[in-house]
Symmetry: C2
Subunit: 346 residues, 2 copies
DNA sequence: ACCCCCTCGTGGAACGTTATACGAACCCTG
DNA sequence: CAGGGTTCGTATAACGTTCCACGAGGGGGT
């Protein structure tokens, strides 16, 4: 009945004794393996509930799986990651697996490496890495030992599965929208490239390239301008300051992440520029911040929850050995227009 | 050298063989236990680095500690929790402990109970529970087996340590500020009380009581109004709608959480009310949302990072057996005034 | 020279689970 | 009713670590 407060833990042996069977039998019931009669299953199960038995995950980890899945993310503050997590959690909710999050606090390579190893050391059964900053070769090595799904990066590998967004299409939506409103001088805020990460196709690379292409497609290649001040509030602020105090300030800014867009708001406020009157602003990811009434930011929706759910599903397929070939799942983004974009000089 | 990709893991036995000593000796070095000569330590350590040895956490978990600390939180979306986590992480950063987050997605009692048990099953060495929704008796039972720190609730216990904020003082700051601006009709948005949780002193209870007291102190007891629509964007929206469309709409709203305040913004926008012109608004927790330029919300700062750091410190003290008496740490809040509050009818 | 104690290292028994190998029934078929 | 297969249950050896108990060697003190 009671899960044994501070005293001894109820083990498989206790259950076996109480049910009058061997520990192997209990183990079989636990894993619902072959060769257990309905009668025995019944007895064992009632013994388990009566004693309040819970399997000892560490002991399981020594022999097989731990029924634990780890998610690595750079910052718990990025609301988009929360969307992803929600999806992952939803898919895992009624499985036996528990979900634990490792947050590196920063996107420092070293911290993330430590965290991933911590997960591997704890024998986690599967890993979901959200836009990892660790070198690609390291991820490949890890993935050789533990089923792994990478979210965000477009570099596929036979070692892990990928869940990505068709970032190119998302960027087209934004630029087409802004050009359609009459903007020509549209700048882009991007994220600096990390040296030595070996990832050639991080989301920001895709977005950046797509931005240049879209501008060129509209005959605006000369007006394309990219500032690599980073996906953060502070980065958005600095980038916007640089752009808006330049000789030819843009009439619209496309930020590669909503969180950077919030920094643009701050810069605009300081410079006395109204949004969208004096400056149109678009973000990316359609996080919950974008939807806030005082913010009302036009943004590209990536269906984070769906991506998370997909990632979890792919992982389960691997864990249950229903698939042994790596796949890439790409989803289609769509644009959510709000009050931060308007015709120039409106 | 290489951490063994998919093949065999390097174990303590391999290290022992390579160093020409017994496994017990290696174990001693690992735990830096008594009785190892500098010479042996040197040999073992170089063998470990050469082989790329990493201790198997699950195996450790069977005998002793797992060097894992779990944090339970209701929602990863609450930015205040991110502040707390940052503090916890900072304190644990250069210890041997790894930090994993369990997010229940909702504040459902059942989900949280499952998560806490998942942590205990995995033999985590210590638990930090942020405003847990599980019954108090359950937490006491858990805490009897695993060192535990509870953040938020003001109900102390000999079983666990508490880290709280002096919520009463925080509320006084808000109400004094609003009254000082000339407001009299100040309403409060609170969180509904969960039945059967056994926690008598959840933060929202403290805040609510302090609100009533502060109003009474200013002779405004008759004007005190509380709506229990919940600490969420939607809850804030519904509560504000109810208040603002009533016969006597308040001139100021004090939301018990910033996240609820964002919902008030939405309601005000829909009703064509300007903030702070037609309505003053104050939040609680001073999360990063409050600081966003377009939001600029007056809020009470709780020094989340500091609280998190304190919690981690208390836990380490317990883990290292430097203390065996439960303590309560309370910190002092302060008010951050921004653009969302102004004299009524300004 | 004897004894005692301290230091450093080893042996080996746990810890709770899984999974393989095996044995004892039982059922069917000829 | 012998032979063969299926079904159900058990015995037992891992898995990688910790830590207690023990012993060998060496350095004083008497």
């Amino acid at each position: 009945m009671q899960p044994a407060g501070g005293s001894k833990r109820v083990t498989i042996t206790d259950v076996a004794r109480s049910a009058g069977v061997s520990t192997s039998a209990v183990s079989k019931v636990l894993r619902n393996a072959y060769g257990v009669s309905p009668a025995m299953r019944e007895r064992v199960q009632s013994a388990m509930t009566e004693l309040g038995y819970r399997p000892h995950a560490a002991a399981r980890g020594m022999r097989g799986r731990t029924y634990t899945i780890g998610v690595l993310l750079a910052s718990i503050r990025n609301a988009f990651y929360a969307d992803l997590l929600e999806g992952v959690d939803a898919r895992l909710r009624d499985t036996e697996y528990a979900l634990f999050i490792g947050s590196s606090g920063s996107s420092e390579m070293e911290d993330q490496t430590k965290l991933i190893h911590a997960m591997v050391d704890r024998q986690m059964d599967g890993l979901i890495l959200i836009a990892p900053a660790v070198p690609r070769s390291e991820v490949v090595r890890i993935a050789a030992g533990v089923p792994t799904v990478v979210i965000g990066h477009h570099d596929p590998s036979p070692a892990y599965d990928c869940v990505v967004n068709q970032d190119g299409a998302g960027v087209d939506l934004v630029i087409d929208h802004l050009v359609g409103l009459g903007h020509r001088d549209i700048a882009h805020l991007s994220h600096p490239t990390v040296r030595g990460s070996q990832w050639k196709q991080r989301p920001e690379h895709h977005v950046r390239a797509a931005y240049r292409e879209a501008m060129a497609r509209h005959g605006l290649a000369d007006l394309a301008r990219v500032v690599h001040s980073g996906y953060s509030d502070e980065g958005g602020y600095r980038g916007a300051m640089e752009l808006l105090t330049s000789a030819h300030p843009p009439t619209a800014i496309f930020a590669g992440a909503d969180v950077a867009a919030t920094g643009v708001f701050r810069a605009a406020a300081e410079l006395g520029l109204r949004i969208p009157g004096d400056l149109s602003l678009a973000g990316y990811n359609n996080t919950s911040v974008a939807a806030l009434a005082p913010v009302s930011l036009t943004s590209v929706d990536q269906a984070g929850a769906m991506m998370g759910e997909t990632a979890a599903r792919l992982l389960l397929e691997r864990l249950e050995k229903r698939r042994d070939r790596a796949v890439v799942m790409a989803s289609t983004p769509h644009l959510v227009t709000r009050d931060s974009t308007a015709p120039p000089g409106a």
